[in-house]
Every structure is written in structure tokens, then in C-alpha cells.
Amino acid sequence: MTSDLAFALRSVGCAVGGGFALRDVSFELPTGYVMGLIGANGAGKTTMIRCLLGMRAIETGEAELLGRRVPGPVELRQDIGVVLDHTALVGDWRLTEVERTLRPFYDRWDGARYRHFLDEFGLDPRARVRDLSRGMAMKLVIAVALSHHARLLVLDEPTSGLDPVARDELAGIIGDFLLDEEHSVLFSTHITADLDRIGDYVTLVHRGRVVRTGPKDEVLDSYRVVRGGPDDLGGTDGAATLVGVELIGLRRTPAGAQALVRAEEADLLDAGLLVERPTLEEIALHIGSEPSGPVGRRGGRSGAIA
């Protein structure tokens, strides 16, 4: 196991049920960085996080967390702050009771830090968990996750349902957390704008598989978005104009057609087409709209300009 990695999943597979499974999932994050796990709802992000945290058994492959093989000793959880898309706290607890209840479990619980975060986030310590808005509840869970001096923060869809102001605040909180270079963050989302500010690494997932993973700029550089008229990308009869270019998530409207292509194939496209570097949102949109199977590879079910 290499200790300079915050975490790693290597060829992980597990059956979830309903025909869904993780297959050959591999990605890793060096210590000190933020990784965004991007995928549509149901792509497998939460399952990957659960496998990484040891909350779900891995059937094939292996996972490593802070230098320890998963499932590691329970003490490993002292170093991990987990923020899921629900609070997982008793609704009738007051915020002071949340601290009283959780503090005994953590060796490095910092009460002053917890109260500082409550104050900073505008949370009333006398308020009950059930009376908090979604944004406030998320801030509470983040306050808990940051109050025991975790080294790795794992956030599963924390911005889902948050307004833009709260999402911006969350980005700031994560930025502050990363001031310590021993800290790392894994952040799953289907709102790619969240990662524009804070993401260092990106992993794109689709239907239980990793489509692409790496530093954000490398991922952005590895694709091009191509736009043309309604008949430019393959035509209405499916006929092709160029050989061997895989169109990922081809979207056609009466006004035009748009698809994602691999960057190394973009030069093969007709000069009349508009080819641009995509945004993360465009990449997620096209990959997420693929019907099934691996995408961004030969043999996928993407359209092809031939």
C-alpha cells in the first residue's frame, strides 16, 4: 500500500441488485487534492463511495484508504469525515446534543471547533436537527465531519438541493479544509459547476463504470465537443461522413446536432464542423446520455461518423 495516496480503488467490482453492478472500477487520489466524482443519478457514485468506506463489501479488486486496505481497523474512521446526502442524526436532537452524543466516539473531537463552525455557519446550538433547512442540515453534518480533525473528507452529493449561495459557501469550506496539505476531499456530484472552483481531479462514471479519471485539465483536454447542422453528424439516415470517429452522447435537435468525441479523433472531423474544448458539464451531459455500455471507447453504443 502506498501512503501518499488519500485513497485508491483498484479493479473494484460488486453487485448491487436490480441488474446494477460496479465493474472494474479504478481511480485514485494523491493526498492533498480534491477529486470530483461525476455522474448522473444512478451512475454508481454512492456505491463507489460505500465500497471505499467499507460500508459495502467488495467482491473483486481492492480498495485502499489512507494507506490501509479496506476494510481497515475501525480506528481508521477517526481520520475520515463523511457527509452524505442525508443527515443521519436524530431529528429531535438539539445541536448541542449532537456534539454530546458524537464526542465520546472521537479521540480528537474538538468542541471549540464544532462551536466555531456552528457560529460561522449561522447555526443556533439550541435548534433541533429536524427544524434545519436542507442547506443548514448539510452545514451541520459538515461541522461534525470537520470537528474531529479528519484527514479525508468524503462528501456524497452534498450540494444536491442547495441554493447557489450555499453551494458557494460549501466550496469555501472545502477550500479552507485543504489549507492543510495533508487533507484530501472526495466529492460526488452531478452538478459539475461545483467542481469548477475546487476540483483538482475528476472521475467520470457511467452505469457502474469509470469512463475517465485523472487531473481535471487532462480530462477536459481529452474530449472535444463537436457541433453541426441537424444532418452534419451522421445525417438523418445514419450515414457517416468520416470514418472511425466515435460520437459520444449524440444529441440531435431540429436546430443542430452535438456530440462529444475523443480529442485525438477530433482532427478527423470535417472542417465545416465546430469543434471546441468542452466544459465538465458538457462532458457529463454527453456521457450521461449514453444508453448503456462503456463510453468513450471503441465498440460503445455511440453513433459514428463513417
Partner: protein
């Protein structure tokens, strides 16, 4: 504080917001049994103590606390044993409260209560509680509250009724062998905990 004790305290804090309901049930039982001091402790042990002991499962089901249990730095073994430690604490608390109330009632009603009578009542109470918890906790840990809430509540009562009727158990039978029956309760709970610990990890514990 040990990990098991921490889990037991977690359950105490989980049910603490619902103490008013618990006191209401206790008050109702007290009113019903006001003229029968000998029935107070067994009734509390059979009805109130298990109700409080399994209430963390009810709250956990509603608040999705299984996620909290999964991320807290506490082992699965400690989680399981913590449930049993919490249950035992519930029994001790209700038995102590019931004994005091029964003593007060006995004086008001001028009924003989204490000594061997009290020992027999406590033994019966312990057995009722042990059977109840020994059945309920493994069921809850294996299948979750949502699936077995009714079965978990009714099965122990049915077992006790069948045992009393089929084996013709009497208070005299209990009075003659208290040590054996206390030990049997401990053995039952130990077997139950062993079975509960084998439940697959997931949204139950």
C-alpha cells in the same frame, strides 16, 4: 468509557427525546396495577423495558442512523454488545423503579411484599425480559425494524404464554430455583448476542 458503553450511551441519547412517551406508558401501567403491587415489576419488565430497549431501532429506522453507525469509529461487535448493554440497563432501571413503586403500593394496600416474594417477582421479571430481548434483538439485527416490528413484539409474548400453559409453570416453580433461572436468562441472552453478531452488516445495526 469502553466502546460498548459508548454505544449504550448513544442509545440513551437516541431515546431521550421520547422520555415523555415512556413516562406515559409507565404511568398507565402503574394506574392499571395500582391494586396489585406484585404485578408491577413483571409488567414493566415484560412491556416497558423491552419497549425502551428496542426504541433505538425505531428511531434509527426513521432517522437512517444505520449510516451514522457505519461511519462512527466503533466496531460491529461493540455495536451489537452495545444494544445488549443498553437493554440490560433498561431492565435494571425499570426493575428498580418498579420495585420502589410496588413497595409504596404494597404499604398503601397493606399487602405483604418483600423478602422471598420480591426475589421471586424479580426472577420472573428477569426471565420475561430475557426471553423478550433474546428473541427481539437478533430479529431486529438480521431483518431490520421495518420488517419484524410486529413479529418481534408478539413472538416473545407468545413464547412466554405457551411456556406457562404447556409446562404448567407456577410462581412456586420459580421460587424453588431462582439461581438456575437467573443463569438461564444470562445464557439465553448470551446465545442471542452470538446469533445477533452473525447478522450481515448493513442497515440494521
Amino acid at each position: 468509557m469502553t466502546a460498548v458503553a459508548r454505544v449504550a450511551v448513544l442509545h440513551l441519547r437516541t431515546v431521550a427525546p421520547y422520555r415523555t412517551q415512556g413516562l406515559l406508558v409507565c404511568g398507565m401501567l402503574f394506574l392499571v396495577l395500582a391494586r396489585n403491587p406484585a404485578g408491577v415489576v413483571p409488567s414493566l419488565a415484560l412491556l416497558l423495558a423491552p419497549l425502551i430497549a428496542v426504541h433505538p431501532f425505531v428511531v434509527a429506522d426513521k432517522a437512517r442512523l444505520e449510516t451514522l453507525y457505519a461511519v462512527l469509529p466503533v466496531s460491529r461487535r461493540a455495536l451489537v454488545l452495545g444494544h445488549y448493554a443498553w437493554s440490560l440497563a433498561c431492565f435494571v432501571a425499570t426493575a428498580a423503579t418498579g420495585t420502589v413503586l410496588a413497595e409504596v403500593l404494597a404499604r398503601i394496600e397493606d399487602v405483604s411484599y418483600g423478602g422471598r416474594t420480591l426475589a421471586t417477582i424479580l426472577t420472573v421479571s428477569w426471565l420475561l425480559f430475557a426471553v423478550n430481548i433474546a428473541v427481539q434483538l437478533p430479529l431486529l439485527m438480521w431483518f431490520g425494524y421495518a420488517r419484524v416490528s410486529v413479529l418481534g413484539t408478539t413472538m416473545p409474548l407468545a413464547l412466554v404464554m405457551v411456556a406457562v400453559l404447556r409446562l404448567h409453570l407456577t410462581l412456586g416453580w420459580v421460587r424453588d430455583r431462582p439461581a438456575v433461572l437467573w443463569f438461564a436468562g444470562v445464557a439465553l441472552l448470551t446465545a442471542s448476542a452470538t446469533l445477533a453478531a452473525k447478522a450481515p452488516p448493513g442497515p440494521r445495526t
